[in-house]
């Protein structure tokens, strides 16, 4: 490469934010609104849900009818990316497993996520069981930020007064669908509480929320919303921040390294334009990483210098350590009571209508912590494979003539069976606390680079007895709820040979912990403000700072903590200037 040249951006930004998802988006929003000149770098293309969402498309508008060939959650889903990206590999240490989901686009994974917006509770920040380390902050310190996120972004739910499932400032929740009413009834009999869902979807107009529409109930939040009625970082944070004139976004910019000076302070970043492959450097007074827990860790580990020989901010050797996803397991069935059900539009919202917060007393159980349950099923939009379960179970219930027949079949009778069973399905999925362990980690693979020449991550992650015992408990609970609601289970009931259906680490897409916060620089990467112990103008605002996530999907906490970190950055700047 005779003409290899790095272009240097002459502008010095007050802050450079790497990544545009929940964490990066919120940091960019707060800093730009406070008047800082902010540069945001996003590895994927610009994405505006108003133009780019595949919302309200019909299945026949996809040649694969929505199958998940190129997008793991189907052809209409709003994530550009998946567990595998062309030319951007990662590896795993033999005998361990990790599935790393990356969305390369403005807004990142917030464009397609389930909008399930739960706060972590007091016991999640300060565990009482001593099993995992405490956070350096309490729920009470984070609560004001959760409150502001609720008001600023909007969330529906109900005030329930459950100690470790803190209430927020809620809009009205959507009413349950028919299968969800059966689930709630069955769960109650099984001793499992069910409460209205909590989701970041605008079910009401709010005077505090401008430029966004209210939900019109198509149930397609996963495709991202053309009227911005749900939370995506792209529509709710980044684009409003751009309107201040203080935030500039460069898309298709894959950050290679954080640059530092001799004192070890961050001076900017280098990145490659993924389209032209031109290399750039750009300078910033503060660098904020919100590239996702593992991508930010990778970036720090790849940013070696004489001041940071083990990688930027890694004097503790803990960057990449304590990686943890949520646990996940599920079970499917159908409700004979819903066969031949009356048709009506029950699309509802695209987030959860109901869920079960963790209810058990761990003193009586063989594992610490717990899980919540999300429920599915109903009269949803047809898509590839949606009726495949019917020929397997149409022999399980008597027909209109009162007789059972052999499962399978064809012809007019089968066609009628498809109609008969449509919408009678129910599913339940547990999402639980997987313990943050030092021995579960990502590191730089010493021998591999991606297509940009950036060293890739190698993962080392194993489930332990705590997670397996939790999955077993999930399956027992699911079966008990299915039984109490009179459902017929259609999935094979997973046993010990499959770890009770426990999904591989990474599959639930809740990974965090890789740059954890703490008061002691020897046992943590960041201080309690998300600031690197070793590099005071470097901050991390994704799920990396999580000491230990609860069973609460982590986006709402990422938003609250990023807001808190961004305001700390502003305070620090004020102190320096004043």
């Amino acid at each position: 490469m005779a003409d290899y040249q790095i272009k240097e951006n002459p502008e010095v930004f007050d802050a450079i934010v790497v990544g545009s998802g929940a964490g990066g988006g919120m940091a960019g929003y707060i800093l730009a609104h406070a008047g800082l000149k902010v540069l945001m770098l996003e590895a994927g293309p610009f994405f505006d849900p108003a133009k780019d969402a595949l919302q309200l498309r019909w299945p026949w508008e996809s040649p694969r009818r929505g199958a998940s060939t190129t997008r793991p959650f189907g052809d209409f889903d709003a994530a550009f990316g998946g567990w595998q990206l062309d030319g951007e590999p990662y590896t795993t240490v033999n005998g361990t497993e990790f599935e790393w989901f990356r969305a390369r686009m403005l807004g990142g994974r917030t464009n397609h996520w389930g909008r399930i917006s739960l706060r972590m509770g007091p016991d999640d920040f300060k565990p009482t069981d001593g099993v995992t380390d405490e956070w350096p902050i309490t729920y009470d310190e984070v609560k004001p930020f959760y409150d502001r996120v609720d008001r600023m972004i909007g969330i529906y739910g109900t005030v329930e007064g459950i100690r470790n499932e803190p209430d927020g400032i809620f809009m009205k929740p959507p009413k349950p669908r028919l299968n969800e009413l059966y689930i709630a009834k069955g769960a109650k009999k099984a001793g499992v509480p069910v409460i209205p869902g909590r989701g970041s979807v605008l079910t009401e107009a709010s005077s505090e929320i401008k430029g966004r529409g209210t939900c019109f109930y198509c149930g397609q939040c996963g495709r991202s919303c053309k009227v911005y009625a749900d939370f995506s970082s792209s529509s709710c944070l980044v684009m409003p921040a751009m309107k201040t004139g203080n935030l500039k976004v460069i898309d298709n910019a894959m950050v290679r390294e954080v640059l530092t000076n001799e004192e070890g302070l961050a001076t900017g970043v280098s990145y490659v334009d993924t389209q032209s492959l031109q290399e750039y450097t750009v300078r910033g007074k503060t660098v904020v990483l919100g590239a996702s827990a593992c991508e930010s860790a990778r970036l720090m580990l790849n940013s070696k210098s004489s001041a940071h020989p083990g990688g930027l901010g890694n004097s503790s050797g803990l960057v990449g350590r304590y990686l943890h996803d949520s646990t996940g397991a599920s079970l499917s069935g159908f409700l004979p009571q819903l066969l031949d059900r009356k048709r009506y539009n029950e699309d509802g919202v695209g987030s959860v209508h109901i869920y079960s917060p963790w209810w058990e007393d761990n003193r009586k159980l063989a594992f610490p912590r717990g899980y919540h349950i999300e429920y599915g099923g109903g009269l949803h939009m047809p898509s590839y494979g949606f009726l495949n379960w019917v020929p397997g179970v149409n022999g399980k219930v008597a027909g209109k003539n009162g007789e059972k027949k052999a499962a399978g079949g064809y012809g007019a009778e089968l066609k009628q069976d498809y109609r008969r069973f449509y919408g009678a399905n129910v599913g339940m999925a547990g999402r639980g606390t997987a313990l943050a362990r030092k021995d579960n980690y990502c590191e730089i693979d010493p021998t591999r680079v991606d297509k940009f020449g950036i060293p890739v991550l190698r993962f080392h992650y194993k489930w332990a007895n705590e997670e397996i015992a939790q999955a077993k408990h999930m399956q027992e609970t699911f079966q008990s709820i299915m039984h109490e609601m009179g459902a017929i289970i259609t999935s094979d009931i997973p046993g010990p040979e499959t770890l009770y259906g426990l999904e591989a680490p990474g599959k639930i897409i809740h990974e965090g912990g890789t740059t954890r916060m703490g008061n002691d620089p020897k046992t943590s990467v960041l201080n309690k403000w998300g600031q690197a112990h070793d590099c005071k103008n470097l901050y991390v605002v994704d799920a990396g700072p999580f000491v230990q996530q609860g069973d609460k999907n982590l986006t709402w906490t990422i938003l609250a903590l990023s807001m808190r970190t961004a305001e700390y950055i502003l305070e620090q700047k004020k102190k320096l200037n004043g």
Binding site: E61, N388, R419
Partner: protein, 211 residues
Amino acid sequence: MNRRESLKALGLIAAGSGVLATACKQDKAKDAAAAADTEKLPGVQDFEHERNKQLQAERFFTEHEMATITVLADIIIPKDDISGSASEAGVPAFIEFIVKDLPSHKIPMRGGLKWLDVQSQKRYGNAFIKCKEEQQLALIDEIAYPERAKPEMQQGVAFFSLMRDLTSSGFFTSEMGVKDIGYVGNRPGVWTGVPAEVLKEHGFDPEKFFG
């Protein structure tokens, strides 16, 4: 922005016309097959669109295989009082596409079709599509019911199960099939819960949130 303004922003409220009427008109205006074939929708990535075009330009099944798929698809989903047959809904063309899109289906489909012809030849001295209808159905009866099929027919069972799944996928995701199955969503509206008469039919109390 309230809900009405949301819909305006979506372009779903034209002057003087109701939301549903407008949404329906849009559906009909669009030739479904054409949309899936050539048009690049906004939000579809370039590599996805290129891949679609490339797959659409390739041909996998032979004429004979396509003819067999058509006969089988219509055996699985025939025309009835409510809707047309699988082939009328474009299922064979969908199957041609989906095996190229999900290549793991290629060998099971090609080999399964061959298996069917070999069986037909042995029994009736003809390829499957040239057999009489009662001969075809007699053979299908032996592979359409997994739990009662003979062990020597299991390869046929596996093939027929795949063919059945692809047929139901193709049919019930077509415009005809979506209407047939009675899915009435995918349009702007207001969700106020399960209709009261349905709640009553199922023994739930319309006054209570959880019935």
